[in-house]
């Protein structure tokens, strides 16, 4: 091969490879939307699908179905928190796609002001993604003055996409005293977003 032809070939290879490098750098960024799309199409569970925000944004009227799902409410209070804490209703029959509200009663047995944090959990866990909470006392820490009592709301909806084999859900709230003082506003809003 003469040197000129070789130089031309080299240049061509360099250009092609450089384009490939740029393309792959772009592909990295293209993965951001592609990843969400892939998760939606294939149903790979991702954090964004589980979050409450998106599901609420869906137009829900008309999608409500006739299934009746039994929701049981369960509470427990950690011994480090001098509170009483009960749901006002222990069972509720709900239609997926409709909005419900349940109140929880809390009373501070001690004479000092105390802050508590509720940690939610859902059984069976497979239903977690289909429980959308619009408002929950568990989003924020709650502070009660000494001897005070309060009713705290939980507004929620079961998604119509709930798999048919799930007929009953248990929502448990464990109330405890946070170990650390309340952080500044930024993480608080983060918790709110995640629901």
């Amino acid at each position: 091969m003469n040197p000129e032809a070789q130089a031309r070939n080299k240049r061509r290879t360099v250009w092609l490879l450089s384009l490939l490098v740029l393309g792959m750098f772009g592909f990295g960024f293209a993965l951001v939307p592609l990843y969400d799309l892939l998760c939606q199409v294939t149903g790979i569970q991702s954090v964004s699908l589980r979050s409450a925000g998106e599901a609420v944004a869906e137009p829900l009227p008309g999608r409500a179905d006739s299934r009746l799902i039994t929701i049981k409410f369960d509470t427990s209070v950690h011994p480090n928190l001098p509170w009483d804490f009960q749901p006002l209703e222990r069972n509720l029959q709900v239609h997926p796609g409709k909005l419900y509200q349940v109140n929880f009663a809390a009373r501070n047995r001690s004479s000092a002001s105390v802050t508590g944090q509720a940690i939610p959990s859902v059984a069976p866990w497979q239903a977690t993604a289909f429980l959308n909470k619009l408002e929950c006392f568990c989003f924020n820490r709650q502070t009660l003055a000494g001897g005070a009592s309060v009713e705290m709301p939980l507004r929620f909806m079961i998604s119509p996409d709930l798999p048919p084999d799930i007929r009953s859900l248990t929502l448990s709230y464990s109330l405890m005293k946070p170990e650390t003082p309340a952080p500044v506003s930024a993480p608080e809003s983060a918790r709110h977003e995640k629901g």
Partner: protein, 536 residues
């Protein structure tokens, strides 16, 4: 490239600079190869020192020498120094030295870019070391306690040392992409006339596949850490769940790079083995074509199985099944390579010089690591092994023989060619036995620790794990200090020794053995004729 005249009408063009200019301005593939190898050796000792500190801390339960963040920073540094600082530059050094000699080319295709891609490395290495040093100073922020995977949200919360690390990764990435482009252009355009792709020595083939892998995956990592940088400083939320991002996306971007990366580390060493084993078995390599096919298959499948590092993130059953099956399928081409090596040795007239000792040890230990890899690929089993010391034992059994020992074999194999002196065979064998014994003493007990439930990346452990950790730490000290012997052997060989003939090993085949030892500054200025028996 701007010169359209041939090399021969400009005799002053190659006036050899001397002193430090020879190295700083070097465009000579042999000098740049030497620089790469020396850089890799320096980084090997730094990465090794951090590993020995980790093992010294784990000698006893409880916290003795380090504090938890420093411990985790050492874990991070050990990985990055070894992978980016040591193994990749060492493999690039072998490529620079050997590829032009093997294909009968006068130099790499883009000599000035070759200079650039090496001299980025010291800058990148400095940034990497700064990321470790900065937190020791007032106002330096917290230490990088994320491990080399840099998962957010932790990596978003770390102090400014993470920014040093991100830029170090950018520089290292640029360096290896440039080197890869250079190698591909060289291999595709500069082979001696008559050397078709399927006559190319296997080491060149492994580097062709490796370089393509690097070009495909390193830019994606660069994109990922750029997003990390933006999340940290410019208010974006690629990975911040509070802003609608997803931390798991970073894991996908990272492992899209990270998994092919293990083949980047492995393949050049497979290439070395494909020369060492035929040389010392005195038989041609068994199944040249199947080797080429197998490594292309490994590279291709290796690109699409990355999420087997993330089984526990909560993917759907369909997704984990796909990644599990894909991962297990890789063991077929890898097994093919191993069987080719065994078939090459079969009924060969074998002799066991140091490179061959390493080669045989690699086949045994790499196979072992591969089998524990199949265990980890199985989803239900991995749920238990995930993030345990079993994983540590597994990947050290794959990467240490698969990458590092392969490079050692290559260094011992070609050191007489590079320096013109035979290395001290007796010392080489002593080094091999101490090194391999130390390695197995270090990592074999970690299998048991992991299966018994000891998590990795944690400074402290339950007292019940003490005995195996003591064994492992003693092994690590033997293993670590044995590399001083390697350093001594290399220095001794450079300084003198029995002169090496041009064909250093009796059974060696290939163009690199037709130039003198050490090769003159310029080789193959006229392409050599390719004869049949030269093809690997």
């Amino acid at each position: 490239m701007s010169h359209t005249s041939t090399l021969h009408d400009v005799p002053h063009h190659h006036a050899n600079p001397t002193g430090w200019r020879r190295w700083l301005f070097s465009t000579n593939h042999k000098d740049i190869g030497t620089l790469y190898l020396l850089f890799a050796l320096a980084m090997l000792f730094m990465g090794g020192a951090s590993a020995m500190l980790i093992r010294a801390e784990l000698f006893q339960p409880g916290i003795q020498l380090l504090d938890p963040d420093l411990y985790n920073n050492l874990v991070t540094n050990h990985a990055l120094l070894m992978i980016f600082g040591s193994v990749m530059p060492a493999a690039a050094g072998l490529a620079n030295w050997m590829i032009p000699l093997m294909i009968g080319a006068p130099d790499m295709a883009l000599p000035r870019m070759n200079n650039l891609s090496f001299w980025i490395l010291p800058a990148a290495g400095t940034m990497l070391i700064l990321s470790f040093v900065v937190p020791f100073f007032p106002g330096g922020g917290s230490q990088i306690n994320t491990g080399w995977t840099l998962y957010p949200p932790l990596s978003i919360q770390v102090g400014m040392s993470m920014d040093f690390l991100i830029f170090a990764i950018h520089l290292l990435g640029i360096s290896s992409v440039l080197a890869s482009i250079n190698i591909i252009v060289t291999l595709l355009n500069m082979r001696a006339p008559g050397m078709t792709l399927m006559k190319m020595p296997i080491f060149c083939w492994t580097w062709l596949v490796t370089a393509f892998l690097l070009i495909l995956v390193v830019p994606v990592l660069a994109g990922g850490v750029t997003m990390l940088l933006f999340d940290r400083h410019f208010g974006t939320s690629f990975f911040d769940a509070a802003g609608g991002g997803d931390p798991v996306l970073f894991q996908h971007l990272f492992w899209f790079f990270g998994h092919p990366e293990v083949y980047v580390l492995l393949l050049p060493s497979i290439g070395v083995l494909s020369h060492v084993i035929p040389t010392f078995a005195r038989k041609p390599l068994f199944g040249y074509k199947s080797m080429v096919g197998a490594m292309i298959a490994v590279g291709t499948i290796g690109m699409v199985v990355w999420a087997h590092h993330q089984y526990t993130i909560g993917m759907s059953l369909g997704a984990v099944s796909y990644f599990m099956i894909g991962t297990i399928i890789i063991s077929i081409p890898v097994g093919l390579m191993i069987f080719n090596f065994i078939a090459t040795m079969w009924r060969g007239a074998m002799s066991f010089e140091t490179p061959m000792l390493f080669a045989v040890a690699i086949i045994l230990m790499f196979t072992f690591g591969g089998l524990s890899g199949v265990m980890l690929a199985v989803v239900p089993a991995d749920m238990q092994y995930h993030d345990s010391m079993f994983v540590v034992a597994h990947f050290h059994y794959v990467l240490m023989p698969g990458a590092v020992f392969g490079l050692f074999a290559g260094v011992f194999y070609w050191l007489p060619k590079w320096t013109g002196h035979m290395y001290d065979e007796r010392l080489g064998k002593i080094f091999f036995w101490i090194n391999v014994t130390g390695f197995n003493l270090t990592f074999f007990p970690q299998h048991f620790l992991g299966l018994a439930g000891m998590p990795r990346r944690i400074i402290d452990y339950n007292v019940m794990f003490t005995e195996f950790n003591v064994i492992s730490s003693i092994g690590a000290m033997i293993f670590g200090f044995s590399h001083l012997l390697l350093l001594y052997i290399v220095i001794k060989t450079i300084r003198g020794g029995e002169p090496a003939p041009s064909r250093v090993w009796e059974g060696a085949r290939g163009l690199e053995w037709e130039v003198a030892s050490p090769p003159p500054f310029h080789t193959w200025e006229t392409p050599p004729p390719i004869r049949q028996e030269q093809s690997a």
